[in-house]
Amino acid sequence: MSKDWLNALQSQFGNDRVMTETKDTHSYSFDASFGSFVPEAVIQVYTKEEIVKILKVANEYAVPVYPRGQGTSLSGGPLPVKGGIVIDMAQWDNDLKVYPEDLIVVASPGVKTSAINEAAGKYGLMYPPDPSSSHVSTIGGNLAENSGGPRGLKYGVTKDYVIGLEVVTPEGEIIRTGGKTIKNVTGYDLTKLIVGSEGTLGIITEAVLKIIPKPQFSKTMMAVFDSVVTSGEAISKVLTSGLLPAKIELMDQASIEAVENFKPIGLPVNAEAILLIEVDGHEETVNEEVNQIHGILNELGATDVVIPETKEEEQHLWMARKLVSPAITRVKPTKVSEDATVPRSQIPQMIEKLNAIKEKYHVNLVVFGHAGDGNLHPNIICDKRDKEEMIRVEKAVAEIFEAAVSLGGTLSGEHGIGTMKAPFMEMELGKAGLDMMKRIKKAWDPNDILNPGKIFTSDQNNELVLSHG
């Protein structure tokens, strides 16, 4: 195959900017999930015009293009599964403007999530979506995955804060969706369509985001349980008692132990589960709600409830939570992360099902996550060099998805479908539902050049295969 497209790109960008050396292409072959695929070229972009140029070439020569933020996707989102061009968006991180009087920020796609919240903080405002990876991930990646975090319970996820986008379509046209107003009903809501589209419908080049006043006061509490199921019941009970904490996060015994190993802060390593709860608002209301929650937790059999006295102690607890996802791999090197989500009332049932799956397949299953909104993170810790084990893992994963869907839940709450969950889409959406989505993709990207092989199955990923990753 001749590399005419490469010549075309090189003549427009210059040879230096089109990275093709082995050491570079191999360094963009991975994300934080599974598997590695080497692209033929990597280009770092700083303007929308540059993206237009790349997409025009890609369309002309039918070469796949993959937008990539900081490669922290847990579902294979930015992996160049069919070769072609990776566009590194992460270096375009310097445009960030806060408009405090309009309560909005405008950001370029490479801006880090935490930088947005920090910038808003200077005006007593906040940008609520707080994925654990917020100090690393880009806003572009967050938008494409519709990321959420602990605060999602009370404040919602990324999609709830986007009011307008600038997008380059797969055919290289620049469009704007939404605007700078909170209300907007002009035509289809393309903003919401792009959010969560995992880089398959367009490349986001600018985001207009809503920010809100920072709550004046907050308090954190840690509840200790001797059974994960009971902790699940406690969550349901709190949420059905007319209380809405900002965060309710769950860590099971294995997660507690993993973070304690990394940075000992005195978490109860023998507990079966802990819940970290944050309540925010006006000081009086917060204190009142903390008391009520305390009562419920005791009533439901929490063995201990700890309320940290200083902000510093609170921060340590939340830092511990942030570290769980990577830290749990200490036992074995491979982590298969899932984020199947169920309606809140089904949390205890889901936990029971997960326990059964763990027993059935003898897998090392760790559970933590944004339990308050039903978004659990069952992770299987394994060793990808062990073929036999990986086959058991494949089966367990499939069963986790089935369990979630059967309880009225979904395959993914926030990490996205990417490559790994694609084979299970029809199970959740049905044939017609999936077909509508495929038609939307076809309309936007007739030549299937933008992030192909994601969300929908292709020849390469029509079933879940982990055993030769």
Partner: protein, 444 residues
């Protein structure tokens, strides 16, 4: 599997690369990712390349540049939640690259000179110290020119020479006694690890170090047969030479029966505390263990002695501190320099953004990768300037030179200075309280 590949995997610590889950939490901590802006130069990128090399997917040439451009600052290991032993992976990679490299005769000759003759040799170091840094605008440089060494990086020694301190006269250097008694009562017997660069280029700082130690109640012993710590050798993949140097040092200090072994160079100290890992045979391992247990940074000794010394001269100055990566990330000595600084009367301490990130000196990185090191330094200097500090304190000779260079590059000579922590403490004219008390009671 191919036997050769298997051997390679062992050498390169292939198994350890699996600990990396590519979460990217290390990206914000890595200075080379910040300045070079590519995954090729990020911690997880490098780990991935090492792994791919060990799997036979890429060649040693592909691996070389990304590994050469790593500062070895270990900032990534500190933030890594899965505890990836990046230091081991890096050393394994350097070792293998070094083995595979086909060196030209000239390269061999110069390397041999640097690593086997100059750095382990007290004679050479004295010569360097006496005649000026690497032979007055450099024996090495003119040497390199003489033999038309175009293949090794231009060392930019002229840049470094500008910022070197006045060197002590040979007679002054020779007159240093081998044992110096504590002022007042002896609290402990310390062996002083003098360090190659510290004892040549920064001889005065070593002198001040000894003066501080005796005020803190230490008998200071300077073993004659001690040699280079071996850090540069290890960081260049020369495992065997670094092991030999370690042995020589262990014997030198063992013979003196000291309570602790103290050094004032963050980089050397980090090497010393890793001696145990160099050995597998029981006897040497045992010796190394006891050596490591005794090893301290000078700031640790002085911090413990803070209640016994008093600073008599206030320093009315705005001061900031550039940490040494090897001291904080490997030796894990963090709080002592801060506490010491803040105990000096008159000082206004101001932290600058990124004070705990590598300054780019990193052993001889700034000579071998001059431009990359200057990118890192320039970034740092913009933050230093914001702090409006007048004095930058360091705890390692490489960092000290680098910060001096930074000041020079910003044209701030005369407005800003870089010093070793020891120099600033010395400037505050500490006196031993005990001696004061004795003096007073003698008067009475």
């Amino acid at each position: 599997m191919d036997k050769e590949l298997k051997q390679l995997q062992e050498k390169i610590n292939y198994d350890k690369t699996f600990d990396c889950v590519q979460c990217g939490y290390c990206l914000p901590a890595c200075p080379t990712y910040e300045t070079m802006k590519k995954e090729t130069h990020s911690p997880r990128g490098r780990i991935n390349l090492v792994k791919e090399y060990a799997e036979g997917k890429i060649s040693v040439e592909d691996l070389k540049e990304p590994i050469d451009k790593c500062l070895g600052c270990n900032a990534c290991t500190v933030v890594c939640p899965t505890n990836v032993q990046y230091g081991k992976i890096l050393e394994g990679a350097k070792h293998v690259i070094e083995e595979k490299r086909t060196k030209s005769k000239k390269e061999e000759w110069v390397e041999n000179l640097i690593f086997d003759k100059v750095f382990p040799s007290r004679k050479w170091m004295k010569r360097i110290g006496n005649v000026s840094w690497l032979y007055q605008k450099s024996g090495l440089q003119s040497l390199a020119q003489k033999i038309k060494m175009t293949s090794i990086a231009p060392l930019h020694l002229d840049q470094f020479e500008k910022v070197l301190p006045d060197l002590p006269s040979p007679t002054k250097r020779k007159s240093r006694p081998k044992v110096i008694k504590a002022e007042g009562e002896t609290r402990m017997r310390v062996g002083f690890f003098t360090g190659c660069i510290m004892d040549s280029v920064f001889f005065e700082i070593n002198k001040k170090t000894i003066e501080l130690l005796i005020k803190a109640g230490c008998d200071v012993v300077i073993p004659e047969t001690q040699t280079c710590c071996g850090a540069l050798h290890a960081h260049s993949g020369k495992v065997e030479s670094s092991r030999q140097l370690a042995k020589q040092n262990m014997i030198a200090f063992e013979e003196e029966h000291v309570d602790v072994i103290v050094n004032n160079a963050g980089g050397c100290g980090a090497r010393l505390v890793e001696y145990e890992e160099l050995f597998t045979d029981e006897q040497w391992k045992e010796k190394a263990k006891s050596f490591v247990e005794k090893t301290r940074d000078v700031s640790q000794i002085l911090y413990e002695a803070l209640d016994q010394i008093e600073f008599t001269r206030p320093i009315n100055d705005i001061v900031t501190y550039q940490t040494s990566c090897h001291m904080i990330n490997v030796q894990k000595v963090t709080k002592e320099p801060f506490e010491l600084l803040q105990s000096i009367p008159g000082i206004e301490y101001r932290q600058f953004k990124g004070y705990d990130r590598c300054c780019g000196s990193a052993g001889i990185y700034n000579m071998l990768n001059y431009d990359d090191a200057m990118d890192i330094l320039d970034k740092k200097m913009t933050h230093v300037k914001v702090s409006r500090a007048h004095t930058i304190v360091t705890t390692n000779p490489g960092c000290l030179l680098q910060m001096k260079l930074g000041i020079q590059r910003e044209g701030l000579q005369g407005k800003m200075r870089a010093v070793h922590l020891v120099e600033l403490l010395h400037e505050a004219e500490p006196v031993s309280k005990e001696r004061q008390v004795t003096a007073i009671s003698n008067n009475a």
